[in-house]
């Protein structure tokens, strides 16, 4: 039981929390602007490397570098919107998707050019895990879970309690009707990009803290983020966050030796679990797991 908790459930929750943040950002952009933003993974990467710059330049811990990561990622999203997506606002979703893929490649090229392909880390060294009786939890895992919970709470308060959040939800429901009621569409789109970029930067930095920095960092989890967003009902950030948690848990638990000491699935197949879940959801519940559940 303890092994399950320490080595599968807690890492699963941590991975799930990172997926949840990434998926919430993907879902938000989809809801307001109606396209699958393939640039999201590379915004995560960009944020993680921006944190690395702050860590190296200022000698701070990556947790303290989070605001730098966010501040460096928002302008990238705005620039991509000004250069590409803003000109394609009325284009078909597939056109926007492909252009976001192009923007993703551009971001990644800059990261490769500046930082090279070699994996790097924030230089945290080895930190002994915290012990609660027999329960072991890595300090970074505790921080990631707490940080993700805070970010999710902030997102919830923004969407549910503020006028700007209500405008974002109104745009997601019906853009023309939102315009008719006087919602400044351009401003809401700018805000949506800022929030999505912040979520991406936080998710990317957390993922890099938990693993390591590579130029493929964010792109490698992008499809899992989409799977989580679809799981939760695309365009619904809360559902996406729940979908992310479920997916992270499913991936980690898939290699637990439930039967006779052998892993249920070899860890190498872990990432396939996300896509198996995605295919099953698309076949049996394409509206998402939580739609119609209030």
């Amino acid at each position: 039981m303890l092994e399950l908790l320490n080595f599968y459930l807690i890492p699963g929750l941590v991975l799930g929390a990172i997926y949840a943040l990434a998926a919430a950002g993907v879902s938000l952009v989809y809801g307001v602007m109606r396209f699958a933003n393939f640039m999201h993974g590379d915004m995560m990467t960009w944020g993680a490397y921006a944190a690395l710059v702050a860590v190296l330049a200022l000698g701070i811990s990556p947790w303290v570098a989070l605001p730098f990561a966010v501040a460096a990622t928002i302008p990238v999203a705005w620039a991509a919107d000004a250069a590409f997506f803003g000109r394609l606002r009325r284009a078909a979703p597939a056109v926007l998707l492909i252009s976001s893929f192009g923007a993703a490649l551009m971001i990644r090229a800059v990261v490769y050019f500046v930082f090279g392909p070699t994996p790097q880390n924030y230089g945290q060294g080895l930190v002994p895990p915290l012990l609660f009786g027999e329960v072991r939890i890595q300090q970074r895992h505790l921080f990631i879970l707490a940080g993700a919970a805070l970010a999710a709470l902030a997102l919830h308060l923004l969407l549910a309690r503020t006028r700007a959040g209500r405008a974002m939800r109104a745009m997601a429901d019906d853009p023309d009707l939102a315009r008719v009621t006087g919602v400044p569409v351009a401003g809401v789109i700018r805000l949506t990009w800022a929030v999505a970029a912040a979520l991406a930067a936080i998710a990317g930095t957390f993922l890099a803290i938990d693993t390591e920095l590579t130029p493929m960092l964010g792109f490698n989890v992008l499809l899992a983020a989409f799977a989580a967003a679809i799981l939760g009902g695309i365009g619904r950030p809360w559902g996406a966050a729940l979908g992310g948690l479920l997916l992270g848990l499913a991936e980690e638990l898939s290699s637990y030796p439930f039967l006779a000491g052998e892993p249920l699935l070899q860890p190498a197949y872990k990432t396939a679990v996300a896509f198996a879940v995605l295919v099953l959801v698309l076949i049996f519940r394409p509206q998402g797991l939580f739609r119609g559940m209030g």
Partner: protein
């Protein structure tokens, strides 16, 4: 002095014009009903006024200001509210949030506006925490009209407000239209349900093929045998 004055409006979607030079005048506090066969351009005319359809020629003046091709998001602040025929509520927002969207450009007016809308449509009070998407058609229409009334507009445009509603709700909506006009808000309404709509109208305008065909006081249009034969189904 007229509140809304459209002159020679030509426009439509993309390349194809639907309006071929339409005139329309609404005076303050008046109820004006636009009727005509399908494809006459009734809804397009409203969308042109609302800033959702491009006007290629002609002018649209509201309160003396030229508003043709101005951004749709600026209309509500001018006192021009628009209720589309379909998809006229935000389904995932609650009734109260939908109403609050009607005063989006003036947040300080939300509480007072909601109280006034509740006075007009008391049914909405008990539904205020319910997502608008789960309401009946008639209740949705109340939310949509209530949303448009939040800032006490000078003109409210209703695109087929009784479409798909039961006779009870149709009567209620027409009663409310008179009540709204009595409060000083002019009403411009497109209606398929032409007879009862003309009965409560100060003016009736008949459109066909994107052009004006006739215009008169509502009851006079109803009494006109040619109009009855051509546009009111005998």
């Amino acid at each position: 002095m007229s509140l809304l004055e459209a002159r020679g409006v030509v426009g439509g979607y993309g390349e194809a014009d639907i309006l071929h030079g339409v005139d329309l005048t609404v005076a303050p506090g008046q109820v004006v009903v636009v009727i005509g066969p399908n494809g006459a351009g009734k809804s397009t005319l409203m969308k042109a006024v609302a800033g959702l359809v491009r006007v290629r020629q002609g002018s649209i003046r509201f309160g003396g200001e030229e508003i043709a091709n101005r951004p749709a998001e600026g209309m509500v602040a001018r006192g021009l509210a628009y209720v589309p025929q379909e998809r006229n509520v935000f389904p995932s927002l609650t009734v109260e949030e939908n109403l609050a969207m009607g005063a989006f450009v003036r947040p300080a007016a939300v509480a007072e506006g909601i109280a006034r809308v509740h006075a007009i449509f008391p049914e909405l009070r008990e539904k205020r925490r319910v997502p608008a998407g789960s309401l009946s058609g008639g209740q949705r229409q109340m939310v949509a009209v209530g949303r448009a009334l939040m800032l006490e507009p000078r003109l409210i445009m209703l695109d087929e407000p009784t479409a798909g509603l039961s006779p009870r709700f149709c009567g209620l909506i027409f009663d409310k239209v008179r009540e709204i006009a009595a409060g000083g808000t002019a009403v411009l309404m497109v209606e398929q349900n032409a007879r009862p709509a003309l009965a409560i109208a100060d003016r009736g305008v008949v459109l066909a093929m994107g052009r004006n065909r006739a215009e008169d006081a509502g009851p006079a249009l109803l009494a006109n045998p040619e109009i009855g034969r051509l546009f009111l189904g005998g």
